[in-house]
Amino acid sequence: MSPAKKTSNTEDYLRMYRQMVRIRTFEDNANQLYLSAKMPGLTHMYSGEEAVAVGICEALEVTDKITSTHRGHGHCVAKGAAFKEMFCELLGKEEGYCRGKGGSMHIADQSNGNLGANAIVGGSMGIATGSAFTAKLLGRDDVTVCFFGDGATAQGLMYEVMNMAALWKLPVIYACENNGYSEYTATDEIAAGSIPARAEAFGIEAHSVNGQDVLAVNQLTQDLVARARKGEGPFFMELMTYRYHGHHVGDINREYYRRKDEERDWKDNKDPITLFGAYLTKEGIATKENLAEMQAAIEADAAAAVEYALAAKYPDTSEVDMHVFTDVKHALA
């Protein structure tokens, strides 16, 4: 764990802890909804990677943008979303952030600068770069962070947009969440050479950081965001992390591609919440009891939101052809 900046950071630290616990709790509930067959479709759990989303998003302003992935609940919570609208979305309800039209793979609190989760691996890399282009063209000072996985580094689109971002010095940060796997395949089987070196070859400054250390992630991001705001971007970050669950909630028997003891090691020894909790108590920023209370409150929140969402109503069937075009109320009318 990196050293504390100053005690005036107490609030920031507690908020980061809180946000990590909120993500974990959200995912536990989502998994439960799946297991009890109350959630339509499948979903990809962010559990284990919380320090990445939180460390990064806590370094951003509301006006800064992010693009997210199929594994997007963590980014959504970290960028400021509320449980109620998230669970409603997960269940396809009208009060969801996307009125139930997006679901888990497109969940986003757009008003907080989340430009959307994306079900096309690498699909949001252009979007993030374009968002940074807007900032530059219109003279705004916001920065965009593009989240994507190690698997997404295989998509050619990434190199196309990194080239343009580098040529035009766009305020975008490419954040590669390297959790060691893409679906059922280990990263070293699908990524030749070095991931950060690929960014460097385009003249982009690249960093590798321990993605389980929320303070390290946050500190690096703060630096890069500040520099990107000054026109020194783009940047590339590789965040070494791990997903606790299978690729998606249905990926239960996974020993053919990933050993159980490896999973245990990460959970026991590298859990971002446990590590940061220990740090907070050691530094006297919070007591164990404080943290337990916080967690209990979050769990209660989540339970209430789940209950609300389960009872909430589905969109009216007349919504089916709304929002195809902005200017046509019902596209098929």
């Binding site: 339509p40 479709g41 139930g100 039209k101 679901g103 793979m105 497109h106 079900a119 096309i120 098929l332």
Partner: protein, 331 residues
């Protein structure tokens, strides 16, 4: 005859062809140990090894392009495209390269490859994992397009596709992977361009593709209980299209509905309907009706998703309208 799932049928087809011809190989994401997310390819890597069941990085344009070059030089790749929605990513390599190479080279180079992918909504997978995009491919000269409607077709069409010297795209219905159907133990192939008449009838013709064949069958049952005799036809391949069988039926029944899970507008129903209109016009008592998926991105919410796709009840209702002459007022 034994019953096996569509998944097993595809698996058998691939295994048989890989045994027969060692230039056949499979390439795609998580095709080897994982056997694809739908587990369709389970066991193949054990028999054929990782040289011939090749796990790729998540690089659809890349491995599609690689397959084109491999096919041009003496192999028969089967490209595994995990979701039909990713076809957008391979369009350039498929349509600018694979589809045109034979023609542009004046017949000197061949591209014998298969793209196996899927279609179909109602899996709660939202707009980017639920599309039925076969119309895009069917529009491009040089590509053949097969739409199996059961385990039987899935096996027979796959074997034919692998032996075909042209690029072929096969769309499987992902909701049908666990559906069983009678499939012979003995080897068989289903020739391209031969429609299958699943049910004979005299009052109306229901032409259904892929997932919609079942829907048409069920609609025919509903109609039968009302005394309407519906003929159900599955074209099996849309390129080449067995016009003859479709026209024969249209001329017999004088009423036709074309049902497909692709978006209705600018999709394949317009083509099939137009060919029938053009060539059987004076035999028709009513316009050829089309029922595709709604022209909206596929919504996630079950409450919305389910109404975007044609249903047996919907098809039967349209048939009743056609029979009753209600269309006359509409037209």
């Amino acid at each position: 005859m034994r019953n096996i799932t569509l998944s097993q049928a595809v698996n058998e087809a691939l295994a048989e062809e890989m045994r027969r011809d060692e230039t056949v190989f499979i390439i795609g994401e998580d095709v080897a140990e994982a056997g694809t997310p739908f587990k369709v390819l389970s066991g193949l890597v054990e028999e054929f090894g990782t040289d011939r069941v090749v796990d790729t990085p998540i690089a659809e344009p890349g491995f599609m392009g690689l397959a084109v070059g491999a096919a041009m030089t003496g192999t028969r790749p089967v490209v595994d495209l995990m979701f039909g929605d990713f076809i957008y990513l391979i369009m350039d390599q498929l349509c600018n390269q694979a589809a045109k190479t034979h023609y542009m080279s004046g017949g000197k180079l061949n591209v014998p490859l298969v793209v196996r992918t899927n279609l179909g909504a109602t899996r709660r997978s939202a707009a980017q994992h639920s599309q039925s995009l076969h119309a895009l491919v069917a529009h491009i000269p040089g590509l053949k397009v097969a739409l199996p409607s059961s385990a039987y077709e899935a096996k027979g069409l796959m074997k034919t596709a692998i032996r075909d010297d042209n690029p072929v795209v096969i769309f499987e219905d992902k909701l049908m992977y666990n559906d069983k159907a009678p499939v012979p133990e003995e080897e068989y192939l289903i020739p391209f361009g031969q429609a299958n008449v699943l049910r004979e009838g005299s009052d109306i013709t229901l032409i259904g593709t892929s997932s919609m064949v079942q829907v048409c069958q069920q609609a025919a049952e509903l109609l039968a209980s009302e005394g309407v005799s519906a003929e159900v036809i599955d074209p099996r391949t849309i390129v080449p299209l067995d016009e003859e069988t479709l026209l024969k039926s249209a001329k017999k029944t004088s009423r036709v509905i074309v049902v497909d899970e692709g978006h209705q507008s600018f999709g394949i129903t317009g083509e099939i309907a137009s060919r029938i209109n053009e060539k059987a016009f004076y035999h028709l008592d009513a316009p050829v009706l089309r029922m595709g998926a709604m022209d909206v991105p596929v919504p996630f919410s079950p409450a919305l998703e389910d109404i975007t796709v044609p249903t047996p009840e919907g098809v039967a209702a349209s048939a009743r309208k056609l029979m009753s002459g209600e269309m006359i007022h509409a037209a």
